[in-house]
């Protein structure tokens, strides 16, 4: 009888501990992608958000997002995230709202490398040999949107083939101007930067 009580106690503690750990994991959401804007005028800000959630809480606005995809309109930041159990969830923040950075992590790249870290021309810090989009932006002049996550999501079998235009880049960050896509990528341990004019195909490698 005494042994049975002890066994039940241990079991109860184990169940509580397991529940607790599940709850803790659910608090940490990994940023899979993020975009900012309104209706069809949205730009990919995955890399920006991944960098921001590694710091203190931040307010959603054109300055922190690095772009104004719909001038004069109220915009929304959408974060598509995944928790430790694989559950997916979308978080929406209106312009002006504050994002609680503690509930997010900025990872999500194969090989464990953080896309916002390091110098774009530097040498890779991990052993991942496939194609990794380190940093990518699309636009003209200082009106450029981050499209890192978007491009990474387009990689199939370590290959990226994309026609560069507003539709594939998720919006028009510089209306009326000819835009270019700048991509810093890592493939087979080599980092390179390419430039692609709007309307042209980019194929990597």
């Amino acid at each position: 009888m005494r042994d049975a009580r002890m066994l039940l106690s241990v079991l109860a503690i184990a169940i509580i501990a397991a529940l607790g750990s599940t709850d803790a994991a659910a608090q940490s959401w990994q940023v899979m992608s993020a975009d900012y804007g309104v209706n069809n005028n949205r730009v990919d800000v995955t890399n920006t958000v991944r960098r921001l959630v590694n710091g203190p809480n931040f307010r959603v606005n054109n300055t922190t997002m690095g772009v104004d995809p719909a001038r004069g309109k109220d915009k929304v930041l959408r974060i598509h995230a995944r928790d430790g159990s694989g559950q997916m969830r979308d978080f929406n923040y209106n312009e002006g709202q504050t994002v609680d950075s503690r509930q997010f992590t900025g990872g999500g790249f194969p090989g464990g490398g953080y896309p916002g870290g390091g110098y774009p021309g530097g040498n890779p810090g991990n052993q991942f040999r496939g194609l990794r989009i380190v940093q990518a932006s699309y636009g003209a002049g200082n009106r450029r949107g981050d499209v890192t996550g978007r491009l990474q999501g387009m990689v199939r079998n370590n290959r990226l083939v994309v026609l560069v235009n507003n539709a594939t880049m998720g919006g028009d960050p510089a209306v009326g101007q000819t835009k270019n896509l700048q991509v810093n990528y890592e493939y087979q341990g080599q980092r390179r930067n390419t430039t692609t004019r709007e309307g042209n195909n980019l194929t990597i490698p």
């Binding site: 021309g121 002049g141 080599q190 390179r192 390419t194 430039t195 042209n200």
Partner: protein, 221 residues
């Protein structure tokens, strides 16, 4: 008169033959023709840190198809924005990376807006640089100033691949960029200019021989 005819005929052949080495030749080229000189609108970024936040210079390895002295270099580099000032070097190979500088040309401007085709950034009047077959050389394109606002792009050639070198400090130090798409360029000998095709030379020579042959026959009658 008969002897004079033969003499003129031989003279024509001699002129044709002796003119061959004197004409400009292609030491290396990955450029196409017509509207397909290179892949416009896609290429390797050439930049200072001012606009993009990082600097990138690119070196492309090549071997010449015949021995010769460099007279002209044409590069398919396009201008995106910022300060339109490039630096180009022709280097010897040093263990698979750009080594000793054989020639350097500064403050070059690209006449071609990136995305269009097919103007080339041309360096002419080059002398004193002899290249040998079977030896690796490097052509590098860098921003004139690492901190400049230059954003340019070296258009991919239509199909050539080569060993590449990448620099983030304006070409002071180089890292291997692996074997990949080669930027578009050519290296011409003997002061540049249009390279005559062998078939055109053959036609010219045959025509001259024929003409003098006809003259000789007339004189014989």
């Amino acid at each position: 008169l008969k002897k004079l005819g033969w003499l003129l005929c031989l003279l024509a052949l001699a002129v044709c033959a002796s003119s061959l080495p004197a004409m400009a030749g292609t030491l290396y080229s990955n450029l196409g023709t017509g509207s397909g000189v290179y892949q416009e609108g896609v290429g390797w970024t050439i930049s200072g840190t001012g606009t993009l936040g990082f600097s990138q210079s690119i070196g492309e390895q090549f071997q010449v198809t015949s021995d010769g002295s460099v007279g002209q270099i044409d590069i398919g580099v396009g201008y995106v924005e910022g300060t339109n000032a490039f630096k180009v070097t022709l280097d010897a190979d040093n263990n698979g990376l750009p080594g000793a500088v054989l020639g350097e040309w500064d403050n070059l401007s690209s006449p071609q807006t990136f995305g269009g085709c097919c103007l080339l950034m041309t360096i002419s009047g080059i002398s004193g640089i002899d290249l040998t077959t079977g030896t690796n050389y490097w052509l590098t394109v860098a921003p004139e100033d690492v901190g400049s606002t230059l954003w340019g792009a070296w258009n991919f050639s239509n199909s050539a691949n080569s060993n590449q070198a990448v620099s983030t400090d304006g070409g002071v130090t180089w890292n291997s960029g692996g074997f990949t798409s080669q930027g578009a360029f050519d290296v011409l000998s003997g002061g540049g200019g249009t390279t005559p095709e062998p078939s055109s030379l053959l036609l010219l020579g045959t025509g001259l021989v024929g003409a003098f042959g006809a003259i000789r026959r007339k004189l014989n009658r």
